[in-house]
């Protein structure tokens, strides 16, 4: 059965004053119906840009190429802007990191939700209003009838994020993309929002792509995980497998730098170095300057994605069960 979302070889380049920046480098992605995919990576990994490209939200200075970009069988690359607009906001929806600035300060919350309904669903004014109240209740906002007339700056960040979610699921999307939905919120609210998202996902059998830099968030919500680094996909496997048996050195380094994994009284593990920018993209493996196990081959040659029993890893010497590259003595 074909995946709901199929991406092959997605590349996004930005023309900047200092040269061309390749933000997304031949990335593949599959999301099945009703599946939750977590996409992890540092800033600059291209995780957000790839999803923005999918939604058609990139600016005019971005160049997008892909071998395949399909949603529910429809080829997105050949769509006219009008056809794409019928899809976006209806079958594929997206929520963003900063909820308060992502809502228009001049219009009420109710207006903005009803607008989404009007665009894709039609209906009478009364129906739209009732549905908006229904949605606000669904996302856990108290006194929804009154809240419809509130402006975004009158609500808290957590409430605004709930409103964003209500707006996104208004037209029963088959895929929801959540771009760092909890990063800008308080820790206590984070848990609530995540719980809300997973509940909605289960109730409506909605596929979800959860983008985050926070491994803890992914461990609780995702079924499958993709790890991105410097615009490339470096590893993908099921969440359980990823957390117990990571294969790519970057993933392992990410996990070991989590405070939870630190040993008592020892220094927190960090990954030395920086993500490559425009001028310093390595010739070989992009992670090689920072990898503890890099060899000359790593530094000279770009590894492809190699398949192993549980998933894919972009490494010549993926880690084995003991956490060392295969073939290297302890």
């Amino acid at each position: 059965m074909p995946a709901l979302l199929e991406i092959r070889g997605l590349t996004v380049e930005f023309a900047t004053s200092r040269g061309t920046l390749r933000a997304v480098d031949h990335v593949d992605m599959d999301v099945a119906e009703g599946e939750v995919l977590g996409v992890v990576g540092e800033s600059g990994s291209g995780k957000s840009v790839s999803m923005l490209a999918l939604m058609g939200l990139l600016g005019s200075n971005a160049k997008l190429t892909a071998d395949r970009l399909a949603f529910a069988g429809t080829d997105l690359l050949t769509l006219t802007p009008r056809q794409r607009r019928k899809l976006v906001g209806k079958d594929v929806a997206m929520i963003f990191q900063e909820p308060t600035t992502s809502l228009n300060p001049c219009f009420t919350v109710g207006f903005q939700i009803v607008e989404a309904l009007k665009e894709h669903m039609g209906g009478t004014r009364k129906w739209r209003r009732d549905r908006a109240v229904e949605l606000l209740t669904l996302v856990g906002i108290p006194d929804p009838g009154a809240r419809l007339n509130a402006f975004p700056h009158q609500l808290s960040g957590g409430m605004n994020q709930r409103v964003m979610i209500a707006m996104a699921i208004a037209c029963q999307p088959r895929l929801l993309i959540a771009d760092e939905p909890t990063t800008a919120l308080d820790v206590t609210i984070q848990a609530q929002i995540l719980e809300l998202l997973t509940r909605l996902q289960r109730q409506h059998n909605m596929a979800m792509v959860l983008i985050t830099h926070d491994m803890a968030v992914v461990s609780e919500t995702a079924q499958r995980v993709q790890v991105m680094y410097a615009g490339q996909l470096v590893e993908t496997r099921s969440a359980d497998e990823l957390f117990t048996r990571p294969r790519h050195p970057y993933t392992a380094a990410l996990l070991s730098s989590l405070p939870e994994h630190a040993e008592r009284r020892a220094r927190l593990a960090t990954i030395p170095g920086l993500v490559p920018g425009i001028g310093d993209r390595p010739v070989g493996c992009l992670f090689s300057p920072r990898c503890a196990y890099a060899t000359d081959r790593c530094r000279g040659e770009r590894p492809a994605l190699y398949r192993d029993p549980e998933g894919l890893a972009r490494c010549f010497y993926p880690l084995d069960d003991s956490g060392r590259p295969e073939g290297v003595a302890a």
Partner: protein, 303 residues
């Protein structure tokens, strides 16, 4: 084990030595072609003003009775003796324009000097004194801004009497509130910074604080406003001249040259066109330069 070989990574861009702020602003400014054109024009204008006695073919006030309303040289009936033609009482337009440049430069300079000077003092005083003094000063500025600027200038000239000098005073007074507000706003945002507190603790007196410590950091928006103020001064003085309230004939101020020229629109287009063109180009040059300065100084403003 892997060797610690040198990685054949592409070189990163070379980092040049850090630039002084002035040089940085200049480099940024240079990139703005419009601003550079404006600057060159102004330089030419200043040179013209200084060298007017040498450059002008005739005196600006001498009347050539035999050459009334002579068209420009390239038109039929014109002559190269009066390249841009003559006006209705036989004065050479080109010479008048050249001496007019000198006048405009003087006007702009004096007006900006006065309004910038007093504006800065008032604005800084308001920012430092706070309380009643501040309210008084700012309310006065508000009242001055309540009247349209040209109207206020006209009222002042009505009280003082027409003439170039009074026109300059009027325009200076009218420009004053802008500088005051700007100086006060800049000063107030600087006052919250730590270097001011440390200067205060070190024992700096208020005057010293005002002018040696805070003022240099407010200069950027003030410089931009001064450039624009120059062009506004020329425009306003020309408007007053046009209305007969500014420079009086035979003073070759560009606006005055246009006063009462409506009657010549049909038969002598050059009397109407050239003085206005001079005003337009000068003001445009200053605005371009002001825009360029604002853009060049902006990254520093945002620091």
């Amino acid at each position: 084990m892997s060797e610690a070989a040198a990685t054949p990574t592409p070189q990163t861009e070379p980092v040049s030595a850090p630039l002084t702020p002035a040089r940085e602003v200049w480099l940024h400014f240079r990139q703005n072609k419009g601003a550079m054109v404006g600057m060159y024009f102004i330089v030419c204008l200043v040179l013209t003003a200084i060298l007017a006695d040498v450059l002008a073919p005739h005196s600006p006030i001498v009347q050539f009775r035999e050459a009334l309303l002579v068209p420009p040289a390239w038109q039929e009936g014109g002559s190269w003796r009066f390249i841009l033609g003559t006006d209705d009482i036989g004065r050479d337009i080109l010479s008048r324009l050249i001496y007019g440049a000198r006048l405009s430069m003087i006007i702009g300079f004096i007006v900006v000097f006065l309004s910038l000077g007093f504006g800065v003092v008032l604005g800084l005083t308001a920012a430092f004194a706070r309380g009643t003094v501040e309210i008084l000063i700012m309310r006065l500025m508000d009242i001055m801004l309540a009247l349209p600027s040209l109207l206020l200038a006209i009222v002042i000239v009505a009280i003082l009497g027409p003439g170039l000098f009074n026109a300059m005073i009027a325009v200076s007074i009218v420009s004053l509130p802008h500088f005051t507000r700007l100086a006060r706003a800049s000063a107030m945002s600087e006052l919250t910074r730590e270097y001011v507190s440390s200067a205060r603790i070190a024992g700096a007196g208020t005057l010293r604080l005002m002018f040696r410590t805070v003022l240099p950091n407010c200069m950027a928006p003030l410089i931009v406003q001064a450039t624009l103020g120059f062009s506004n001064a020329i425009l306003d003085a020309a408007a007053l001249g046009f209305l007969g309230l500014g420079a009086q004939p035979p003073t070759p101020e560009w606006g005055t040259m246009l006063a009462g020229s409506l009657q010549f629109v049909q038969r002598a287009w050059w009397v109407v066109t050239f003085p206005g063109l001079a005003i337009l180009l000068t003001v445009l040059a200053f605005n371009l330069m002001g825009d360029g300065l604002r853009d060049a100084l902006d990254p520093k403003l945002k620091r």
